[in-house]
């Protein structure tokens, strides 16, 4: 048996929530230990945000070049048909992931936070046993942060394995499937579906709801629907997946009008959501209160047990890395004795489809629930010079504000590259900007960001370029 480790703060999981908490705790001089069963960085860095963005970028580039090769580009660029070595693409992606793994490990080292590698399991509220390669390691801590994250949801009639894959496997395919069925038209399914479609796979999206990306309003998703059609992605809404064909080469579904259908699919990508990882690490030993499937937390990320905090995906929606990071930072400061509580006004969400979707704050429908009267200003990129020069005229920016005091409640955008606008959207809402604040800020020309200012001006009734 190894000698027990004793620390002030133990963090379980090195995902964005866990490693940020560890770095901040290290900065604050808290004696901290972090446990990781796999590689540093969690889902986000290893099998989520980062590798998917790498694949999406590669697909974008390939599709662009293919477009040139087909002689369809108005830019006048022509070239020979491109080739794709998916193995090399994945190797490039893996290299980025590896560099970031090392980066996180380096940051933890710099923060003087030791990493215990292995699977952690609570023995009681203050004691965790880690199954390391070299035997069990007991870690005793005054305070514990649970940051175990989430995992893809598996459908009972489509268990992962063989041709049925999750996003994790989709990001590691060595050869391009000719056909792919995507079960679940949420953001993960569409991001990956679009990427594979661009790379040349025939993609069919099967969504049980009446439309894809049900979390975003229909207006926001419309440009994406148009693009899906352009890319030849079939979208079957109101359709239910039922299982794999006997041969394993097709997905069995029941369509919106109840007919059974067979969709040829070399790979079946199941992206019906993610579930918190609440099993296997001894939750039953500490018996925390739950909020549905998630660990119940308060506005300081405290669980029902004193001295145990939980952050990130394991605590609920939105399951986003940047929410976990903000929670991790906050909890480290609370553990250091600072007075903190969750007071964020918005957690921007981005969908890296083509075009991209950004939403910060309230949608018009949500805003109507909190404010009797609202003003909406929407500015299309078709009236934006920079968007035109980028062949990115599809999409728009929309600002939602209270009618009485012009306080900005929500900002949404859809369009090529709008993910980078999320920062100014978030800033505006956190700072409590009014329409006049955004309208009165000089936005550099020519940028797509001007669309943000114009949308605010439009809500005020005097947009200049429309």
């Amino acid at each position: 048996m190894k000698k027990d480790m004793i620390c002030k703060l133990l963090i379980i999981g090195t995902g964005p929530g866990g490693y940020i908490a560890a770095i901040r705790a290290g900065q604050l001089g808290i004696d901290t230990v972090i446990v990781e069963a796999k590689k540093a960085g969690g889902t986000c860095l290893n099998v989520g945000c980062i590798p998917s963005k790498a694949l999406i970028h590669a697909a974008e580039e390939y599709e662009k070049v293919l477009h040139y090769a087909e002689g369809k580009s108005p830019l006048g660029i022509g070239l020979a048909a491109p080739t794709l070595d998916l193995g090399r693409t994945i190797a490039w992606k893996d290299d980025i992931v590896r560099r970031l793994n090392n980066g996180v490990a380096g940051l933890l080292k710099k923060a003087k936070v030791p990493v215990v590698h292995g699977w952690a399991r609570f023995k009681d509220g203050k004691t965790v046993e880690v199954e390391t390669e070299t035997g069990p390691q007991i870690v005793r801590a005054e305070t514990v942060i649970i940051a175990t994250g989430s995992a893809p949801i598996e459908l009972p009639f489509l268990p992962f394995g063989g041709n049925v894959i999750s996003s994790t496997e989709a990001l590691a395919l060595k050869t391009l499937p000719a056909t792919m069925a995507v079960v679940g038209g949420g953001y993960i399914g569409l991001e990956l579906g679009i990427a594979f479609a661009k790379l040349g796979t025939k993609v069919t999206v099967v969504e049980a709801e009446s439309r894809v990306l049900p979390l975003y309003d229909a207006e926001l998703t419309r440009p994406v629907m148009k693009r899906l059609a352009d890319l030849g992605v079939a979208v079957l809404t109101g359709a239910k997946a039922k299982g794999v064909s006997a041969k394993g080469d097709a997905l069995l579904i029941s369509t919106a009008d109840g007919a059974d259908e067979k969709i040829a699919a070399e790979k079946i990508l199941v992206t019906v959501g993610r579930k918190p990882v609440t099993e296997g690490w001894g939750l039953e030993e500490i018996d925390l209160d739950m909020a549905g499937r998630f660990i119940k937390i308060d506005d300081q990320c405290r669980t029902s047990m004193r001295g145990i905090y939980a952050i990130g995906d394991v605590t609920g929606e939105p399951m986003l890395a940047h929410r976990a990071m903000a929670q991790g930072e906050m909890v480290a400061e609370i553990v250091a004795g600072h007075k903190r509580s969750w007071d964020k006004r918005c957690i921007p969400a981005i969908c890296f489809t083509d075009p991209e979707i950004v939403s910060a704050g309230l949608s018009p429908d949500e805003a109507r629930k909190v404010s009797p009267e609202i003003k909406i200003g929407q500015f299309p990129f078709s009236a934006n010079g920079r968007a035109m020069t980028k062949l990115a005229e599809d999409g728009w920016v929309r600002v939602v504000a209270r009618a009485d005091n012009h306080l900005v409640l929500g900002i949404q955008a859809v369009g090529v590259g709008v993910s980078e606008l999320s920062t100014s959207f978030g800033l505006a809402i956190e700072m409590g900007a009014r329409l006049e604040d955004i309208a009165g800020t000089i936005h550099a020309h020519p940028t797509q960001g001007e669309g943000f200012q114009e949308a605010a001006l439009k809500a005020l009734g005097h947009a200049l370029h429309i």
């Binding site: 600072h338 007075k339 903190r340 509580s341 007071d343 006004r345 209270r402 005091n405 012009h406 306080l407 956190e430 700072m431 409590g432 009014r434 006049e436 604040d437």
Partner: protein, 433 residues
């Protein structure tokens, strides 16, 4: 026009630095030759700094409370003709003397009062908070609305333990800015409570710099209480006979003899008692672990001045008769009050008497005048009924509340010493034999 710089002169007695305790001038004032610019304080004495020239004050080199090295620039004047920027007033000996008795201005000069500025967290608010802001500025938030404030303001509020829902925002859309938070903090959290008619809550905070004599008192008291484990012993003394004797002596005194208070008698009694208990008349040099017992009985007496308490010393009480003691007590009390006591007169005591008798009070717990080992506190003489074995008789009773350094004086010895003093005072003839 030229400039004339006045440096802190050598205030004598081998003093290397002095604390600025008063400014009599401010920037823009015209000063005449010999008018007093300010005062500095050394260990005990306060020294006034006169102006050697006439001119306009353009720069002050220190704030009240600052300690200045001798020779450092103190003040700069704009003068007629060529300036002599480096001239220090030690060039003009004779101008300096211990401060004359001087009426202090109405407002105590060491108390630099100003409205308390809130501790400004970073980033500092763009402008000072107008404390008198109306309580409700800006559109009132509807019920359930989240308060609107930037992350920086929210962080400050959290750290100050303030619920932003309680704070009115003066910004557009009711946004709460740093200045709103400042105003809320300045108003205090009780402002929301009901206010009785005609009674206004005051949230005024006056900052008073602890400087000069007050600082020295503070340091000395803290040191005495930190280092010395005090034992306090209170005993009552029947002073009926002593008071009769005192009345007789005062009635029959010559014109050149001082009016005797109780103090000279107590001093003489102490001299007698100390002869038997020399350990009470000592300086305990605790860092060195040495007690210096003195043959001289130099009795300090606490004297209240406008700026605080000082201890004036009747040196060699063992060599003074009752009249001499009385005369010295009166002289020193006047000098201390007037601020003319010299350093020698304000130091060198080996045991101290403190008397609040004039005000009243039954018991005090006096603080030993560090590094001495004993202090005798005199309480008010009061007529009390005393059982004489057959009946109650009215007697003039006085309590002595005394403190001893318990590190070097045991309770037993302290009690025996005070009993000796009591016996002497109750039978005053013994004082004189």
């Amino acid at each position: 026009m030229g400039e004339h710089t006045i440096k802190l002169p050598d205030v004598g007695e081998g003093v290397a630095e002095a604390e600025l305790v008063e400014w009599h001038v401010k920037i823009g004032d015209i000063v005449r030759e010999d008018s007093i610019l300010g005062a500095v304080m050394t260990d005990k004495a306060t020294v006034e700094i006169p102006s050697p020239v006439q001119g306009e004050v353009i720069w002050l080199g220190a704030e009240i409370g600052d300690t200045l090295a001798v020779g450092s620039p103190l003040i700069r004047l704009k003068v007629e003709g060529e300036g002599t920027p480096t001239q220090a007033i030690e060039d003009q000996p004779g101008e300096l003397e211990p401060a004359e008795p001087k009426p202090l201005p109405e407002t105590t000069k060491v108390a630099e009062a100003k409205p308390k500025a809130e501790a400004k967290p970073e980033p500092a608010p763009l402008k000072a908070a107008p404390v008198a802001r109306a309580t409700t500025i800006g559109a009132p938030r509807a019920e359930g609305d989240r308060p609107l404030a930037s992350p920086a303001v929210r962080l400050r509020a959290q750290e100050a333990g303030i619920d932003l829902r309680q704070v009115a925002g003066s910004g557009p859309a009711g946004r709460i800015g740093h200045e709103d938070l400042d105003a809320f903090i300045a108003r205090g959290t009780h402002a929301a409570g009901a206010v009785a008619a005609g009674l206004q809550p005051s949230n005024e905070i006056t900052d008073i710099k602890v400087v000069g004599l007050r600082r020295k008192i503070a340091e000395k008291m803290a040191k005495a209480k930190q280092r010395i484990p005090h034992i306090t012993y209170v005993e009552e003394v029947d002073v009926t006979a002593l008071e009769e004797l005192r009345a007789q002596l005062n009635k029959g005194k010559r014109a050149d003899q001082p009016k005797l208070t109780i103090l000279p008698f107590l001093m003489r009694a102490l001299v007698k008692a100390i002869a038997d208990h020399p350990q009470m008349n000592a300086i305990f040099e605790d860092d060195a672990g040495v007690i210096h017992q003195y043959g001289a009985v130099n009795i300090g007496m606490a004297a209240q001045t406008r700026n605080g308490v000082v201890v004036a010393t009747v040196h060699h009480a063992e060599a003074r008769d009752i009249w001499d003691c009385g005369a010295e007590v009166n002289r020193l009390a006047d000098a201390a009050k007037a601020g003319t006591a010299t350093r020698e007169e304000l130091s060198g005591s080996t045991i101290t008497i403190t008397s609040l008798g004039a005000i009243g009070g039954v018991v005090t717990t006096p603080v030993i005048n560090y590094p001495e080992v004993a202090i005798i506190g005199v309480n008010k003489i009061m007529m009390r009924p005393v059982w004489d074995g057959a009946s109650f008789v009215p007697r003039k009773m006085m309590n002595l509340s005394s403190g001893f350094d318990h590190r070097v004086i045991d309770g037993w010895d302290a009690a025996v010493f005070i009993q000796r003093v009591k016996a002497l005072l109750e039978t005053p003839a013994m004082i004189f034999v």
